[in-house]
Amino acid sequence: MARFTPENEALAREVIARYPRPKSATIPLCHLAQEQDGYLTEDAMAHVAELVGCTPAEVLGTASFYEMFKLHPVGKYCLNVCTNISCQLLGGEELLERAEERLGIRAGGTTPDGMVTLEDVECIAACTEAPAVQVNYRYVERITPEQLDTLIDDLRAGRSEVPPHGTLGTTRQRTAGRLANVTPPEQQGEPVWIARHRVAAEASGTGETS
């Protein structure tokens, strides 16, 4: 399963072209693979390795460091409940317990129907809007226990606008044909505008160089 589709491979090459060194595209490409398959498969990591010019083990080494890369299938929806301090103070841990009870799974688990994976997560930068949860990283803020119940029921029934797990920002940066100056560092010299001002300053005898 699951090397990049031709469309995604083309997209991957466009992403790689943004970086002075291809390996920098490892994380974006792993995201793309996860968007395609819902999780990060071994074949996808091998394909990423080919594209960025490293070994599959290096891709795995990188991917396994990061929480968002799932090396095994997860639910269509990841329900992330923040229990960190600001949310804890306003009931985040109780919400997590409630979700566990309602879903019949522990944090980290996935419902047998494959719809929901529940996670106990660290601060998601919504602290003033605590308690906060995310569904596939889309926020639901100041959520009440009753709203959480409804949300869970909706997710189990597939009633949600949120894109399936793996899809993050749906607007892509379009760079094809637009980039000014991506080259490996060793091919880059002093930028023109810097040189122009340096020369001018030297000519007038006032300048320091930067």
Binding site: G61, E67, R138, Y139, V162, T167, R174
Partner: protein, 562 residues
């Protein structure tokens, strides 16, 4: 229900006080503020006008103005941006800029707002910085768990490229730079600048040892690299529209300008507020109607975190300190990432402490032993204390483990009631980066003030007493010195304990007797709800005869080594 971003109905967002300029938050409430048109037609300045002005200046002059303005970094360390830019070794090319949008310090919520609601402001800030230092490329590193911010920035960048504001020959000049949107994938440590660089290179996000090399000398691809926080760069367009003088007119000499403060926890109006640095006090933030509007339910303040989870805690004695990095540092904590977490008297200090420590244990990257092993042990010990399996030696064991991560006296707030002085920031470290030492902050803070709560967890079967009042260390003190409804003789107005509702100063509890924690000598009255799972707040009014010292042979004055 899936609100794309974080405005609270009940809370506030943006500049709230009259007379405070909205330097970075002026488009937070503007519906189309995130578009190019919105950026050019709304807010406290016209979008991309500053860029035009800057392109007529010499790059060095731009850096000089940023230096003159004393634009302090808003990512945590508060280092002046202009000075940092000047650290790039002369004549070494290419240089890169990495924008730190990895916001994940618990309590912190401001960079996400800036990215979601005013992406062009950030882009213009990046362009000004890139022009000044001569960057070939800017990498905008957005936290992985923020798809909406990613979308807004992608859309804004696409607009900006199309309008010739980014890319080749910007606005027809010889200035060319690319801005590349990059997403992370979930790891707090990647917010640390050298880990950020590792991550950007496609590696595990583990910090690099520094010194010898700081990113400004050897960063991305071992080239000179400036890492700046989202909020830091978002200040630049306003700064170059209104000038250094206008910028310096706000705040204080050492900390000019404004800061976005995320005020969370037990206040009536949690929110993200743009406040003047240096002049605003914590009390004002907690009490003022346009900020926090008081502690919830008229409760007492027990403690607060002044600068994100990594910051040592403050207590009611510190509420009158200004939001000034140097002052707060001298008093034993830091302003960090502008995240203030307020905890009222119902907060269980052990539980709060464990939660923060657990965060660091989970997020330790594992590169160095004191942090990897130490944070794990800290979490384990705290967890067993909370679960009722603590051992009498556990408190000292915790402090000992902590001392191996951050040796010597750890920064902590003064405790005037016990005659203990503050230990100034920063902590020492045996580790590669400051994450490990950060895990010590909640431990030393909580144990110094609320050691009795830890001890009670270890020794008592009853619900744990939780109050805002620390029990005196070596509590042989006469009862009337312990505390009551009025500021005690030792404290002047400035350091008077806050109690009661914040604004009225009225006692929340009847001052019908000295409130002494009963630790062990437990009258039957203080177990109000045996069935409750919540740690009950127990006040033992009138327990004059309780003698904690007699019950707590393990507690000794000065056992906390500061």
């Amino acid at each position: 229900m899936n609100s794309p971003s974080g405005t609270g109905a009940a809370g506030g967002v943006g500049a709230a006080a009259e007379g405070v300029p909205a330097v970075v938050s002026s488009r937070f409430e503007v519906a189309e503020g995130h578009t190019l048109v919105g950026y050019k037609t709304s807010g406290s300045y016209r979008g991309y006008e500053a860029l035009r002005a800057v392109l007529d200046m010499a790059p060095d002059a731009v850096t000089a103005q940023v230096k003159d303005a004393t634009l302090l970094g808003r990512g945590g360390a508060g280092f002046p941006a202009g000075v940092k830019w000047g650290f790039c070794p002369p004549g070494v090319w290419p240089r890169y800029i990495v924008v730190n949008g990895d916001e994940s310090e618990p309590g912190t919520f401001k960079d996400r707002l800036l990215m979601e609601r005013d992406p062009h402001q950030l882009i213009e800030g990046c362009l000004i910085a890139a022009y000044a230092i001569g960057a070939a490329q800017v990498f905008l590193y957005v936290r992985g768990e923020m798809p909406h911010a990613q979308e807004r920035i992608a859309a804004a960048l696409n607009e900006a490229y199309e309008a010739n504001l980014v890319g080749q020959n910007i606005l027809g000049t010889d200035f060319s730079v690319d801005i590349v949107l990059h997403w992370g994938a979930g790891a707090y440590i990647v917010g640390e600048e050298t880990a950020l660089i590792e991550s950007l290179e496609g590696n595990r996000g583990m910090p690099r040892l520094k010194p010898p090399f700081f990113p400004a000398a050897k960063g991305v691809y071992l080239q000179p690299t400036i890492v700046n926080n989202v909020e830091t760069l978002s200040n630049l367009p306003w700064l170059f529209n209104h000038g250094v003088e206008a910028y310096r007119a706000v705040g204080t000499e050492a900390s000019p300008g404004t800061r976005l403060i995320a005020l969370s926890g037990h206040v009536n109006r949690p929110g993200v507020y743009e406040v003047p640095q240096g002049t605003t006090t914590f009390r004002e933030l907690f009490e003022a109607e346009h900020y926090g509007a008081g502690i919830r339910d008229g409760n007492e303040l027990k403690m607060f975190i002044p600068g994100g989870a990594s910051a040592p805690w403050f207590f009611p004695e510190q509420v009158d300190l200004p939001l000034e990095g140097r002052v707060v540092g001298g008093e034993g904590s830091m302003l960090g990432s502008g995240a203030i977490v307020v905890m009222d008297h119902t907060t269980d200090a052990v539980r709060a402490c464990l939660r923060v420590v657990r965060f660091f244990a989970r997020e330790s990257c594992g590169k160095c032993t004191p942090c990897r092993e130490g944070t794990t042990w800290e979490e384990k010990i705290l967890q067993r204390i909370l679960d009722g399996h603590g051992r009498p030696s556990d408190i000292d064991l915790l402090l000992d483990v902590a001392d191996n991560i951050s040796p010597g006296p750890y920064p902590v707030a003064a405790d005037p009631a016990n005659g203990l002085d503050a230990v100034p920031f920063p902590p020492r470290q045996t580790t590669i980066c400051p994450l490990g030492p950060s895990s010590v902050a909640p431990i030393t803070s909580a144990i110094r003030r609320f050691r009795h709560e830890f001890e009670a967890r270890i020794t008592r079967r009853d619900p744990i007493p939780v109050t805002a009042e620390p029990v005196l260390v070596g509590a042989g003190a006469p009862a009337d010195e312990v505390s009551d409804g009025a500021p005690d003789a030792a404290s002047d107005g400035a350091s008077a304990r806050l109690r009661g509702t914040f604004d009225s100063g009225a006692p929340a509890v009847p001052a019908d007797g000295p409130r002494v924690m009963s630790l062990g000598a437990t009258p039957g009255t203080d177990a109000p709800d045996p069935g409750g799972s919540e740690p009950a707040e127990v006040r033992d009014a009138g327990a004059e005869d309780a003698s904690p010292a007699a019950e707590e042979p393990t507690r000794k004055r000065g056992s906390f080594d500061v």
